[in-house]
Symmetry: C2
């Protein structure tokens, strides 16, 4: 049997070759392949659903909880959503080859920047089988060769979906190795992938904080990190009451299990009496468990005491921590200390407070008078996202097609030599 | 005595605090500090030159070769060049806070990107004392706190120059820890710096390939790599004879010891007889040693045989390797295999060849009919550069102010909640 090391070298070499040809693959060819993949998925819906049934049955036997089984599950609706997302990616402009800022310099040369693929990307993901197609489509459109490593619990679903990608690539006359799926469920593969820097330009882990941290720890390959979201909404002393209530309510309750949900509400002391009683009532009516600082607890006997740990916790559930602060500086300091650099929003009608908040808060997304739930590639106009980077390096915030590219300088001369 | 570990933690904490205040430091204040630094250098020229004399004397005793001593040396002219470069950086627009692409989305929110500092940068460099000021100025202007680690051979010069930075910062009312110089010459410091990811956002090594590789090997902190330049000039079958000769000559002979000098000349077989004899005569007249493939050797008996190793070598001296290729594909393949991804240029009047070359060659700079010597931050209009990145991640090619920054998303709403 092939060793894990040799497997990764073989896949890596295939991917490097494919990446070379993808550098100058025409937009039309890439779109044709994406259209073919959508077609394949439509034609093979039954096969895909029955492969998914196998994963679900094995998952139940293995004792996966309901939340995990739900993430694993495919049905008609979800397959249609996958096809819809493919069509959205087809409709996006091709980032590759775009030349910007092409300007004449005093020497007479003309210098600009051309957008180019990163090369070979690895995606390491858990359960959700739709990532196979979403990642496959984003990488193909951005001219990157891709190595997919899905969770063992989704192996039959992923194999089925990968078959659609492969056929779609071949029918468009492209190298089938533009996307490769690792089929062994051997766990050593992940470590080997993250060390294969001769073959892989970057790895994107898609999963919980612990997966991302485990992968990053000994990685030699560049990682595009989607870590966790401990997001804050700060209600300033000059907040509009109605905006504050509706935004803070939406930011927590729109969906609980997502990284852009607000986990901690910070309220300026001089706005607390005006805004918190009504807001607290709405949260409690919706079934949100509230944990507060001492001052907050005085506003309702249904608020339990927040511990130090609460301020650092991404609940991903119907729990919210609330802290009353005596100044905006205290709010910013709290965010600096406890936030994860994902998304923070200030609710204020004060011009200077708004400007200060966006200048001083060091997060991937900083908002004024808007719900943190908006932190999302679709909402920002990227068309699709492969994750949300909380890193400052290379790409920050929702990662769309452009985040999967690099640039090179183009110099056009007419016989120019340097003095 | 303070342990190396504690030293780095102390400097790291200082730097993080300084970085926090730098996020929203006004352009005018940063420029005032830079002006102060220039003033300090002018006022203390004598002290700086005598500190440098100490380094030079110790270097001579330690047996440093002439090239190293030359890099270490300061004189009136070089100090004026340092001041000139400070003035150039003062004149550059402040990248921080720039908001671009601020557009309304269908939901009604307005989304844009704001340019922000990376945070804390570490610079590890050798000999040249001017790096202390150049790096200090670029980091300050781009709002980053800086930890400098110069070579032990330049310690007196660096301490003198650092004193000017410190005073300049203080006189502008800035935290003196915006820039810190590591004063111990203990070698463990470098390893500790590259592991201090809780305090340092990125490290920029400035030095030879071996220094950069040693630093990158076990680094936990993000590295902005300036590696080596094995640059190619490719003379196409449709090259203009005069352009080919003057560009290829300039690209090799303008300066030998620089990373953008052409090290290998590739010539299409059908252009070789037309162009190479005259070009070879010019190189030989200039004293360039030529190493060639078999076909090239037939053109002159003063060309020695190039070994396999030659094609991978950055000579940084008056040596050039020449290979005659039978097609443009062979040239691109040679570059793919032997190039370092720095800079390559095609000499051709053919439209399709030019387009193909810039699409397929995967280097930080790709040129048409221009000398590879142009690969430089000043020539590209960046105003200054801290190095040339041969990485595809984050920043590629000459790294100016913008390469030292990141972006964050700004979302402006008016009470917007997400459906």
């Amino acid at each position: 049997m092939e060793s894990v090391e040799n497997l990764i070298i073989r896949l890596g070499k295939n991917a490097k070759n494919a990446a070379k040809s993808l550098r100058s693959t025409k937009t039309q060819t890439k779109n044709t392949a994406l259209t073919n993949i959508a077609k394949q998925i439509k034609q093979n819906k039954k096969t895909l659903l029955s492969a998914n049934q196998k994963d679900l049955a094995q998952g139940k036997n293995a004792g996966l909880n309901d939340a995990l089984l739900d993430r694993l599950m495919l049905n008609d609706e979800r397959i249609n959503a996958i096809i819809k997302s493919l069509n959205q990616i087809i409709a996006l402009p091709d980032p590759i080859g775009e030349i910007t800022d092409l300007r004449f310099r005093p020497s007479g040369i003309q210098v600009g920047k051309m957008r180019v693929p990163l090369g070979v990307l690895g995606i390491i993901y858990e359960s959700r089988p739709n990532v196979t197609i979403d990642a496959g489509a984003l990488c193909l459109k951005s001219g990157n060769a891709l190595i997919l490593r899905g969770g063992s619990e989704a192996i039959h679903s992923n194999l089925g979906l990968y078959q659609c990608i492969k056929q779609g690539l071949l029918d468009a006359g492209l190298d089938e190795n533009c996307a490769q799926l690792i089929q062994t469920t051997n766990r050593e593969v992940v470590g080997e992938l993250t060390r294969a820097k001769d073959y892989i330009d970057a790895i994107i882990p898609r999963g919980g904080k612990s997966l991302v941290e485990a992968i990053s720890k000994n990685a030699k390959v560049q990682i595009i990190k989607h870590l966790h979201g401990v997001c804050h909404t700060y209600i300033d002393k000059d907040a509009d009451t109605q905006k504050a209530i509706s935004i803070a309510f939406n930011a927590k309750t729109r969906r609980y299990g997502v990284c852009n949900a607000t986990e901690t509400l910070l309220v300026h002391a001089s706005a607390a009496d005006r805004i918190l009683p009504e807001l607290i009532a709405q949260y409690l009516a919706k079934g949100v468990a509230l944990r507060g600082c001492e001052k907050t607890m005085q506003l309702s006997d249904q608020i339990t005491a927040a511990t130090q740990q609460d301020w650092d916790t991404e609940y991903l559930s119907a729990i919210l921590s609330i802290r009353i602060v005596s100044s905006m500086s205290e709010a910013i300091e709290h965010i600096e200390k406890h936030g994860s650099g994902h998304t923070e929003s200030i609710i204020s009608e004060n011009y200077t407070s708004g400007r200060r908040f966006i200048a001083e808060v060091d997060s991937a997304s900083v908002m004024i008078n808007a719900s943190t739930s908006f932190a999302d590639g679709f909402e920002y106009g990227l068309g699709a996202e492969i994750g949300i980077s909380t890193d400052k390096f290379h790409v920050r915030g929702p990662v769309g097609l452009e985040g999967l590219t690099s640039q090179k300088y183009i110099v056009l001369g007419d016989g120019h030599i340097r003095a």
